[in-house]
């Protein structure tokens, strides 16, 4: 079951809600009955790309709620789930919306303490900024690197060190590695469009140098984003509870390396609250990964 945020679920604030566009089509199976940290998506809230699915789920929700009401289960107000969740996970900040039953059933259902927190929390309100885009393109012809290095101002070529020409342009500020096979890697852009524009400029430079360069198979290979949650994070606690995903070795690296399975993103989480997300092929994966990790990080926020 996917929800962009609680606002979607309960049909509030539709106008201010911005769904993340161009989402990954494959949906993972998320079920509240899965054991904590089962190996797919970290709980609790995932993103969706289709309003229709949302509405469908909302309908299912309401059916579920109706069933529970019929069964006469007591204490389905906002209070009980808060109690349950705070027992399940220490330190989580549950704020159930008044008058609504939470998604995951009442404490009387025999459920493993799965979803750690905040079924009714809003989205984080923080948007990760893209810091680096790596893309590749095929210029479609063999290149003579010596000629390029000789005739281009912005090129450096040291065949003993590396078998490619390193070319730089000022706008957008990027670096390209141009190989003799005609393939090129472009790094340093801050958005997909900038990366494409930069790659085209490099291709144009190579064209002007006399090679029949084309622009084939442009593809974004990696996107790196970063953001700051603005509170300190207990990395030792996080590695204990999310052991399957996390690797934290303070002797080697100060940050915790969190390998999220869905979406397939690697996050570097630091004690200062700064998070670096990398490994994405599309922007939406970064946003989705951050929205997945934010509630977990909030659970490890301590007030000391």
């Amino acid at each position: 079951m996917y929800h962009c945020c609680a606002a979607c679920i309960f049909n509030l604030k539709k106008s201010t809600h911005t769904p993340f566009g161009a989402m990954t089509p494959g949906m993972s199976i998320f079920s509240p009955m899965m054991p904590y940290g089962s190996g797919l998506t970290p709980q609790p809230v995932q993103n969706t790309n289709s309003l229709a699915i949302l509405e469908e789920q909302q309908r299912q929700q309401q059916q579920q709620q109706a069933q529970q009401a019929n069964a006469g289960l007591p204490g389905t107000s906002g209070q009980t789930p808060q109690l349950y969740h705070s027992q399940a996970v220490a330190g989580s900040t549950t704020t159930a919306l008044p008058g609504n039953t939470p998604l995951y059933g009442t404490p009387l259902t025999p459920m493993t303490p799965v979803t750690p927190a905040t079924p009714a929390s809003e989205s984080s309100g923080i948007v990760p900024q893209l810091q680096n885009i790596v893309s590749t393109v095929n210029l479609g012809c063999k290149l003579d690197l010596k000629t390029i290095a000789l005739r281009a101002r912005n090129a450096e070529y040291n065949p003993k060190r590396f078998a490619a020409v390193i070319m730089r342009i000022r706008e957008p500020r990027t670096t390209a590695l141009i190989f003799s096979s005609g393939k090129m890697v472009c790094t340093g852009a801050k958005s997909e469009e900038q990366s494409r524009l930069a790659a085209r400029k490099y291709a144009r430079v190579v064209q002007k140098l006399g090679f029949p360069a084309k622009f084939l198979d442009f593809k974004i290979q990696n996107m790196v984003g970063s953001c700051d949650v603005k509170f300190p994070i207990r990395l030792e606690g996080l590695v204990l509870t999310h052991q399957q995903f996390s690797s934290y070795e303070p002797e080697l690296f100060p940050g915790l390396i969190y390998r999220m399975i869905k979406p397939r993103i690697v996050l570097l989480i630091f004690v200062s609250g700064k998070v670096v997300l990398t490994g994405a092929k599309v922007r939406a994966e970064i946003y989705e990964a951050f929205e997945n990790i934010y509630p977990i990080l909030k659970g490890f926020r301590k007030t000391t």
Partner: protein, 412 residues
């Protein structure tokens, strides 16, 4: 074979001399000149190369066990014995080593890396069986770079698909403190301290530092060194001990000083000052210079002092907020221009949340000034026209090309 027992098989004489033919030592009979025995061409190295022909190309039926694997396992056993780990860990390490060694990702790595693999397997089994040991210890034993070994460890854990818990710094503390030779056997009476007391106090100090964000994300050894130094000073805070710098302390205890330990000492002292200020019976101001003598009290009542300090901080923040709220209506009467100026002055361009809380990770409190972001090209579509003049700016003129070629020739 002893020399005396050697007899030439051809003539039966016992007159055998050692003759070195290039790099091959030979035993030669003086009388008839026949070679009695030969040595190997190269000296027997630690790792035996095995036969020249690999098993897959021979017609042999049984595969001989890989010599390097056997030697590696022997190395595992010897290291386990040096570290005096228990037999379960020894057995588990051997199992992991065999598994890792024969895995396709590690079977063809260099021998040096296979040696590092020994350390990684040991680290893994120690962690799984709750034997606290740090990566630095193992890598110093193997004379390896801790980073290299660490990366290999992470790779191995991923390949073997094992989840090992991390080591708690307080568990390693006891082993670490035994490194310091300042018991009464090694150091003069005035400066000596028993390991038990030292460890106990250092553990408390480390726990307190962990609560106040000094430990997370940092290398453990400088923290332990700082904790032991401060504990040692605070156990008998006389003039003698307080005057001894960290460098001299390390010389006394015969350990290598770690430079980051000095910074950790400063951070710990700052933290202790914040708590020391809350002690009700201390009248004077608690500064990093005189905090050491209060460390005992601070550690004894650390929970209460933490609560008091946090409450005091909250009250201070509340008062500040109220004060700013009260100021605003008064300011609204004042000149608009003046109001604008004052609010600008009171606000930082980027309010650092680390400065508003009592304890925050030091990397937040002393945030490095981030580079000013370049103005974002937000309306780039990627399909814009690229002007010729822009591209021409990146291409050399023929004159430049000639000069460049000339200069390259001259440089060669």
């Amino acid at each position: 074979m002893s020399r005396a027992a050697l007899r030439c098989s051809a003539c039966g004489s016992s007159n055998i001399v050692e003759d070195a033919l290039y790099c091959q030592a030979q035993q030669v009979c003086v009388d008839c000149g026949s070679v009695v025995s030969e040595d190997a061409l190269s000296s027997e190295s630690v790792y035996v190369g095995g036969s020249d022909v690999s098993y897959s190309r021979t017609t042999a039926g049984a595969k001989k066990p890989c010599m390097n694997l056997i030697i590696g396992v022997q190395r595992v056993i010897s290291i386990c014995r040096i570290l005096r780990v228990n037999s379960e860990i020894e057995k588990l390490t051997q199992i992991y080593y065999r598994e890792a060694y024969q895995h396709e990702s590690f079977i063809r790595v260099s021998l040096r890396k296979k040696e590092h693999l020994v350390g990684c397997c040991l680290l893994l089994s120690c962690r799984l069986l709750n034997w606290p040991i740090s990566m630095a210890t193992i890598s110093s034993l193997l004379d390896a770079d801790p980073m290299v070994m660490g990366m290999l460890y992470i790779e191995m854990v991923k390949i073997l698909n094992i989840e090992a818990p991390i080591v708690n710094i307080t568990d390693v503390m006891e082993a670490h403190s035994h490194d310091y030779q300042i018991s009464s056997l090694h150091a003069p009476e005035e400066l000596s301290e028993s390991h038990k007391d030292l460890t106990k106090r250092a553990v408390e100090l480390v726990e307190l530092s962990a609560d106040t964000w000094i430990v997370t994300g940092r290398r453990p050894i400088p923290i332990m060194m700082a904790a032991i130094y401060l504990s040692w000073q605070s156990l008998k805070p006389n003039k003698h001990r307080l005057k001894l710098s960290l460098e001299k302390f390390c010389q006394l205890a015969k350990v290598n000083k770690h430079k980051p330990a000095i910074k950790r000492i400063t951070e710990m002292k700052e933290m202790l000052c914040k708590l020391g200020q809350e002690i009700p019976w201390v009248r004077e101001a608690v500064t990093p210079d005189n905090v050491v003598k209060h460390v005992e009290d601070i550690l004894k009542h650390r929970h209460a002092l933490l609560r008091r300090a946090l409450r005091a901080q909250e009250d201070a923040l509340l008062a500040e907020r109220q004060a700013s709220c009260e100021d605003l209506p008064i300011k609204e009467d004042a000149d608009n221009h003046q109001l604008h100026g004052e609010t600008l002055k009171s606000q930082d361009p980027e309010p650092n949340w680390g400065k508003r809380v009592l304890f925050a990770p030091p990397c937040v409190v002393q945030a490095k000034k981030s580079r000013v972001e370049q103005p974002e090209l937000t309306d780039v579509t990627g399909d814009e026209e690229i002007s010729d003049s822009e591209i021409d700016a990146y291409i050399r003129t023929p004159q430049e090309v000639r000069e460049f070629a000339l200069s390259q020739k001259m440089l060669e």
